[in-house]
């Protein structure tokens, strides 16, 4: 394994003051604090300002900057072939909830053990500020010719309805809060979402730092807030309570963990229950040839077709 002699990070070309910096910092800190190295971490991303995240890491990790809306699908292939990797997906709100929302919902059905960090800035940043799916109807950010005509999707409600088993929200300028959630999300066994409120000072002149600073409050400041499903019976009620909570958006905006359910087995376990060899011999660890000789034995398979 190579440890870089001189690690030359890329120049970061996000706009000054962009909330993405906070997200990147939190990610880096979380990875460092968890003691993860480049042997462990693959950061997968979609397309957008947020999509550039892996290139801007100042830690030596691997990065896979994929297609607009498709990060989750690549990540799924990576993780299932090599479940030892820690896979973190960074996606924009357009990326994950617009063009990619089909994969978002479908990923919930699989519950692959990964973490999705949603860069929720209300706009399509990299294409110059069109409305993203989290912008509310009637809102008119800087570069819209008219107020937004679409209703927004609620990432928290959608993730819960889709089967994500760890659903949280954080705020890009509260790096510590975000970092802790990222650590929890990485450790969570199953598919995790952190919806990060990410001001885009260039295009989103509504949901600014000032806007959030005075609205954001922490869910766990209420000691009775318990988002964790501990028994199957609790599931429905904790789900709908979390969804109701997620509708709170106005003078007060809650951040923190909305819902967690580790009773649902991650996809890796489901594979292993069908193919027990998967527990030890994952695809990435299994040799399929030795010096060119194919190692798979076809006898059984041929026998089935013998005539």
């Amino acid at each position: 394994m190579v440890v870089p002699k001189v690690w030359v990070p890329e120049w970061n070309d996000w706009c000054p003051g962009c909330g993405n910096f906070g997200i990147l910092n939190a990610e880096q800190q979380a990875i460092t604090e968890l003691g993860l190295t480049h042997e462990d971490v693959v950061v997968v991303s979609g397309i957008g300002c947020s999509g550039k995240t892996p290139h801007f890491f100042r830690l030596p990790i691997s990065g896979v900057h994929t297609l607009h809306g498709r990060a989750l699908t690549f990540a799924t292939g990576i993780k299932l072939s090599n479940p030892e990797l820690t896979v973190i997906v960074n996606g924009g709100d357009g990326d994950q909830l617009g063009i990619g929302v089909g994969h978002f919902v479908s990923a919930g059905r699989r519950n692959v053990d990964m973490l999705v960090i949603l860069h929720d800035n209300g706009v399509y940043g990299l294409t110059k500020g069109q409305a993203s799916p989290t912008l509310r109807r009637g809102e008119k950010t800087k570069s819209l010719p008219r107020p937004n005509v679409n209703d927004n999707v609620n990432p928290i409600a959608l993730a819960i309805s889709s089967g994500f088993t760890f659903v949280a929200r954080s705020y890009a300028y509260d790096v510590k809060h975000l970092k802790e959630l990222i650590k929890m999300g990485i450790k969570h066994k199953g598919l995790a979402l952190i919806d990060v409120l990410q001001p885009c000072p260039t295009y989103n002149d509504i949901h600014t730092k000032e806007y959030f600073d005075k609205r954001v409050y922490k869910l766990d400041s209420d000691p009775s807030w318990d988002p964790v499903v501990r028994k199957p019976e609790e599931e429905g009620e904790k789900m709908s309570r979390a969804i109701l909570k997620s509708l709170e958006w106005g003078e007060k905006i809650p951040i923190g963990l909305f819902y967690q359910n580790e009773l649902v087995p991650p996809y890796e376990e489901r594979i292993a229950s069908n193919a027990p060899s998967y527990k030890e011999r994952t695809p990435a660890k299994t040799k399929i040839e030795a010096e060119g000789k194919l190692l798979t034995l076809l006898d059984d398979i041929l026998r089935e077709k013998e005539i």
């Binding site: 394994m1 990065g63 498709r70 699908t73 695809p283 299994t286 798979t296």
Partner: protein, 629 residues
């Protein structure tokens, strides 16, 4: 020696099972079989049929004329009576049924048949159709399936509904009896198929009832069998090839006629393999993911490939259209991923269950921008198996998506062949520049002479991938000079491939090299073309056949050499435009002089190719085939 047998009936009424029992019996007697299955995009009720060629050597094509037609409903008689040259086995009870009453038949067909029968001065009942056949010398065998079912039910002591399928068995038993082979093969096949005692009994009795009444017409004798033989369809052949080749990850979204491959692999999610360290046999898993759509399927496969495993997906036209963007990403990121592309009738949803060769140009040009797309095509089941492994080797050597074309006419057809033909021991893995233990800084996209950079699995070094243009490290780069170089590096891999892959492997030549007439073809028509050419040769006409197996990089020099000095170059393929002919022209400047084309969704039968070739030799420039119900 070749006998053509056909059985038809409504989808979901046991046509498949019957054809399988019949085939198994024939195979047990030492014969080879080539079978093609035709069916509607429908679950129950529409007409489906099996066409089997029985032969004493490996069979590779169907005939458009039928020696024995086994039917139990009216539609089968209507749809096929014109094809039959030998015998029609039919149900007494449907004789009075007229075309108008067969609602499952599409109005176009009803109209055409009505018109035909009327033009012959006949009415529109099954009896009229049979009368027509008889007038052409066809022998009729009438069975009363209702009676057979009743007798069987009575004998076994079950209600008639339980004994229903006895009529299927009756139809194949009658067919079998015509061949003159020993009854035991048939009985064994029946027993192997039905697990339950009662059903074995029902079918045995039905067999006895029929066999005693039908006299042999063909004097087939048991043939000696040496070595192992298998019977596989195209989907299974590819699946087996992939598994043998080391497939470790397959993602797919259900689609006809591709998903049977994935379902087969899913059912073999663990396979035995040698552990190279210990020498032990141990199971290894294959991860199979039913994705939410084809965009997900291709991208999951690419993601898996980045971890260093052999990874693939399988689809057909509509899914492939959706994969365009993902294939481009794989091309840009030099990902070795295999796409098995089952061609069915297009455009759009088209004819989902019918065959076609119309997607070649799309496969070769898929996705925006320029990058190497390696495209290969199999011509039969043995090739389908071997090419699945070849595809992995090409993908890993040249670090680019490889598109493996297999048509529905191969996927849903099957053949019996000797296992030795697979040449298992000669098939090897070539993993190209995959670095196991990298040291030093890893430049995934390093500039090299041959355009191929070292590759490493995620987790073994820190590497970067992006669909944006990038520098050697894999970071985004918009620099104009890097752009010119990196872009060229990727495309240059095709030149390297062109240099390294012997042109002899990229096409196969058959027939007489000195013939003045050459045929070019590819994919499923191969067998029919070879059979047609053999027939022509036996009549004294020499023809050279070139089967194109790789379209990109194209075997330019060899085709040029082979085609130089030919008086006629006949392009035979299953599309309208003569797409392989266009690819030939583009690559060599040589243009086919004649075309034999077919796009009605049915595979080419050897005898229509033969007739087509005759027409071409008589001067016709463009022959359109339209055989097959």
């Amino acid at each position: 020696m070749r006998i053509s047998w056909e059985i038809g009936g409504p989808q979901g009424t046991g046509v498949d099972t019957s054809a399988n029992i019949f085939g198994a019996a024939i195979a047990a007697a030492g014969y080879y079989i080539y079978g093609n299955r035709e069916y509607y995009s429908n679950i129950k009720g529409r007409h489906s049929y099996f066409n089997l060629t029985i032969s004493d050597r490996r069979a590779r094509s169907i005939s458009s004329t039928v020696d024995i037609l086994a039917s139990f409903d009216a539609e089968t008689v209507f749809q096929h009576f014109q094809e039959v040259k030998g015998v029609i086995i039919y149900h007494k009870g449907v004789k009075g049924t007229s075309i108008e009453r067969v609602q499952s038949m599409e109005p176009e067909i009803q109209e055409r048949l009505t018109h035909f029968l009327k033009s012959q001065g006949l009415g529109t009942t099954v009896a009229d159709a049979l009368k027509y056949a008889e007038s052409k010398g066809v022998k009729l065998i009438e069975l009363d399936y209702d009676e057979i079912v009743k007798k069987t039910a009575d004998a076994v002591g079950v209600p008639m509904s339980v004994a229903e399928r006895a009529k299927n068995t009756a139809a194949i038993a009658a067919s079998y009896a015509l061949l003159g082979l020993r009854k035991e093969y048939f009985m064994d096949a029946v027993k192997r198929t039905f697990k339950q005692e009662t059903f074995v009994k029902i079918n045995s009795i039905a067999t006895e009832l029929v066999m005693s009444t039908v006299k042999p017409m063909f004097q087939l004798r048991e043939l000696p069998k040496t070595g192992k033989r298998i019977q596989v369809d195209g989907n299974t052949a590819v699946a087996m090839g992939k598994i043998y080749g080391g497939l470790s990850f397959q993602s797919y979204y259900p689609i006809t006629p591709a998903s049977d491959e994935s379902v087969y692999i899913e059912a073999h999610q663990e396979v035995m393999a040698l552990d190279p360290e210990t020498g032990d046999k141990r199971k290894r898993p294959i991860v199979v993911v039913q994705a939410e759509d084809e965009l997900a399927a291709i991208n999951m496969a690419s993601g898996a490939a980045l971890t260093g495993v052999r990874s693939a997906t399988a689809t057909s036209g509509p899914g492939f259209s959706l994969m365009a963007e993902g294939i481009g990403w794989a091309g840009m990121n030099e990902v070795p991923v295999v796409i098995t592309y089952y061609i069915r009738g297009g455009p759009s949803t088209g004819q989902p269950t019918r065959t076609s060769q119309a997607d070649l140009l799309f496969a070769m040009n898929v996705s925006h921008g320029e990058f190497p797309r390696i495209v290969i095509a199999s011509g039969d089941h043995v090739e389908a198996f071997q090419d699945a492994i070849w595809a992995f080797n090409l993908a890993e050597r040249y670090q680019t998506p490889v598109i493996h074309l297999v048509e529905k006419a191969i996927a849903n057809a099957y053949s019996i062949f000797d296992v030795s033909e697979l040449k298992l021991d000669s098939l090897r893995a070539e993993r190209g520049k995959l670095v196991e233990s990298p040291d030093g800084e890893f430049k995934r996209f390093k500039f090299t002479e041959d355009g191929i950079s070292p590759r490493v699995a995620l987790g073994k070094a820190y590497v970067f991938y992006t669909g944006d243009e990038h520098n050697e490290i894999g970071h985004i780069s918009e620099d104009s000079e890097n752009r010119t170089k990196m872009y060229e590096k990727r495309i240059r891999k095709l030149d390297t491939a062109d240099k390294e892959i012997p042109e002899e492997e990229r096409l196969k030549v058959f027939g007489d090299q000195d013939a003045k007439v050459a045929v070019i073809t590819w994919g499923s028509p191969k067998g029919s073309v070879l059979d047609a050419v053999e027939q022509l040769e036996s009549e004294g006409t020499k023809v050279q056949v070139i089967q194109l197996r790789m379209f990109n990089p194209f075997p330019k020099s060899l085709t040029k050499k082979l085609l130089s000095g030919k008086e006629a170059i006949i392009d035979i393929e299953g599309n309208y435009e003569g797409q392989a002919g266009l690819v030939l022209k583009l690559n060599t400047g040589i243009e086919p002089t004649h075309h034999i084309l077919k796009w009605n969704g049915r595979p080419m039968a050897w005898d229509e190719v033969y007739t087509g070739l005759k027409s071409v030799l008589n001067g016709q420039r463009r022959v359109i085939l339209n055989g097959g119900a």
